[in-house]
Symmetry: D4
């Protein structure tokens, strides 16, 4: 697989979700995973969403990340058009503080799983995507291990700095 | 409009939802509103769902009723393919007791309203459909008024029977 | 029907709700739907509310939009006095962040549906009103279709701008 | 005041609520408080409800107890037509287990308090009514004290029986 | 009863609750109901709280208003020491936004009702107190009616100002 | 300390809570911790409860376990009268399924902690009591370690039985 | 990779969870994915759990499925010891109906994602595992596509049977 | 036991939790309880966490305080490696406002209690630790009594200042 081939797609229901999804981009860039960022709405551009989801595997995409708030249907609609793993990121965009998006994302019916991460959990969605790619890509698994080791060392440094 | 033309469509995500939706059928039959009952899944048969929703207005359908449990996406997906009024019935199908279906149905983003009724509120969905039809159909409005009057008299009778 | 006849009524329980309901006015104006804006309280002016609701259909009004926070009873009380479609907008006005208004609006008993939209979903209430009017008014249905198409194009433009 | 004058009214939105409200009747009978039991719906018989509430004080009624499930509006609607104290009993009648009725009863706007008791708390509603009457009726206050003393002794007896 | 006799007691668990309870004082002053304001904690000064509650009726107090946040026990503890009506005001004082205080106040066991008002509903607690006093005090009932009429006229004025 | 001295008190608000608290008794008996079981109500027998709590430490009691449902005030009231560690067991006794008891038990104000365990978590309350006693009683700590080791071996046995 | 190599591990915190996890086994068997079923507790056998998680990748395991109820820590603890994708299945095992397990599973901190599926969503966990394996295993992707096609045909058959 | 021996350990999952845990430090310092403050993550440094927990009792530590937000696993993981009492402090660190951390901390399975205090209840965690130490340390019990008496006097002073 060429280094340039897009491996992860980040889909948002609205361009205004970009601020909350930036941490996902940062993680993918740190891990050097080529990705594409799309504004595709489950409701306002359903055909474009379906078309993109249906063709994603052929394009070489391996994981779909779908972020939405409120009655967050994007991850579910995307999962209806692909059997690639779909990661759902519930966003806290309404007065109900993400409780709506969480339930609308995670409570999928039998046959259509969405791998749901925490409310506003964009960074973790990207890390999960890397872990999924790492199942059959030892190099990627190694990068995730290295990132985690860095986190571990940072916690240890924080711990030690507190003792002094 | 011929008396035989289907005016309301009841869509369920699964045939097992039929028991909870039976009260909607009963109301439509009482009000002599021709309807069609379909099993169309937002996730398992997305194209059939989209096709049906897209063509509904041309078929003469005036209101869509969509029932689903869990991460209930059916009403939202249908609303993405038609500008007919879409009524959502959240079903209590998971351990979360309908709280998931309610939020997944009602918290729709700007531009895509779903007219949501109570959890397991199938009868009310049908009455709301009749009220919507009644906006421009005085005969239907009259039937709804009559049904309501009958309910009123029943409450009065219950009230009086209690006094004795 | 004269172009000047009021077709939609927006009712608020308090004048202070006006800021949250402004988006409904904007949508109705964009769609050129004549409307009236009223401050009518389910509890403080019950007779005026009942009188207005009872007479609404005769005035030519086709859809009632009722917005309230907390133990939001306005939509239910209005629906008790008319068989016109009643749209409820739960407002996030208390520390419970709209959860109270949502349940108080949507969980209506059999016979008295309220078409509930999202918490603070004023714009969607107006769009739903237009969709209801559009059931028997092809011109209105066309306007809603056009508004939706504009939204679709905006999402596509956002999507494309992100690719560059 | 004659011993026969009705002092408390118990209102239910539906005759089917009678089973849950029976404990309120039992308490009132034990305390020898004359009461009337009515089926009055906030939505299905609004005029009868308003008329009864408006005339209650003149009839000699001193406290209103209102029981309802779901989007429980009865107590609020009654409070709109009387300044007598209104006690609300939220009933667990929907899959949301009374959470809906609780919020719809207690979260009343400024100016219209409803004295809310626990979900399915019919007995406590009657005791609270007696306490309210007891503010200016020393005999009633004494009866409530006696009932409470009996409860106290029962707990002590239970406690002692456990030690043996 | 002398005009100077304290008729209502407002109890707060902490002096810092005073800002949220000020509206209750304002209402009582507007209705010319003599009241006392106390800082009495269910947990930190249990004996003082019990002593005050036990002696309240003899002092001529007719209604107790108890405000607390979090695991709000004050109203329950006070009700354990008096059979005067106890009004509970749940305060939104923790990250759980009053949901904790509401349930801790309203879900009282059989025999110990607390008349619960809305989260942060201090003004309504005072109005409810006046309504309770008004059961046997026609002058007070008249004052509450007048206050309500003023509210009604204000809503009507707001409604009319919007039409212009 | 004599082996017969009561070291743990289990308090229940009602004798009917005994079924849910039996597992606590079983654990204490297994660990040979002498205990007393009392029915003491925060609201119905407040003086007895306060007296027992106030005198507990002098009697040699080391930990208080308090179980209650609904607006569960027992643990809080007991903690107001002793500085012994108070363990709260929220019971699922109302339609709100223990959510009320959990918040009413755990959300205690500053200065009055209640060590809260899971809803219906009677067994864990007893184990926690043993762990607290074990802080300064090596024999008790050893018994808890042994109980835990037995649990560990049981999980391992279950794990192995599944492999066969 | 040999057809016999275990590719998925299903971990449960207790043997009593087996009934709820059986559908995951059924799916894996239908898709001919070799799996191992283990009882490993985050709290009672932490070392065994850590050891199994740490060694899983070397054993050829590609996806971990972790099921637990209440304060469901198993998936999080496993994810702390492997960078393989970890799927969490929240189980409805307490009076809080799975709401506790859902939040304890999905709300993971940055760096440690758990791919969470619906409450009691065992079948979907297995399907998601197959989709993850299918990212780099075209044969597996084909099997998932076939399973989904069968589901699609079943919905269509249900839909058609309803029309007759 | 030497005055210098650490008796309480405060563990945080992240250094950024320090601001919310400062009140626990303040209480321990006021009570002159030697403590250690550690950054130990259940997920990022599991071995260090397990090692510290396993060795805590031998170091003379008597109580563990564990603070975490979101899917708060720290207290549970620590309790898996020690039979010392473990106090859990759920932190409000996500859009779900601590509801996630509360349930993830308190709903522990049988055999592994976590003594949970209020959301963001750091001060109470420290007081509870002191109460636990005070079970067998009369001097410490006296200090806690004195702190409580100071609180009592402060409430009384606040109460009296309000009367003037």
């Amino acid at each position: 697989m060429s280094e340039k081939t897009v491996r992860v797609a980040i889909l948002m229901g609205s361009k205004s979700d970009l601020d909350l999804m930036r941490p996902a981009c940062d993680v993918l860039e740190e891990l050097q995973i080529p990705y594409v960022l799309r504004v595709l709405s489950a409701h306002r551009t359903p055909e474009r969403t379906a078309a993109f989801a249906s063709g994603a595997r052929k394009q070489g995409i391996q994981v779909m990340i779908c972020a939405a708030g409120g009655a967050a249907h994007l991850a579910g609609v995307v999962s209806a058009h692909t059997t690639l793993p779909v990661i759902g990121v519930p966003l806290a965009r309404t007065p109900l503080a993400g409780q709506d998006a969480l339930l609308a994302t995670v409570q999928m019916p039998k046959g259509m799983p969405v791998a749901t991460v925490a409310v506003d959990g964009a960074a973790n969605a990207a890390i999960l995507a890397a872990q999924i790619i790492g199942v059959a890509d030892a190099d990627m698994a190694g990068k995730v291990d290295a990132m985690r080791e860095a986190n571990r060392l940072k916690v240890i440094a924080d711990d030690e700095s507190l003792q002094r």
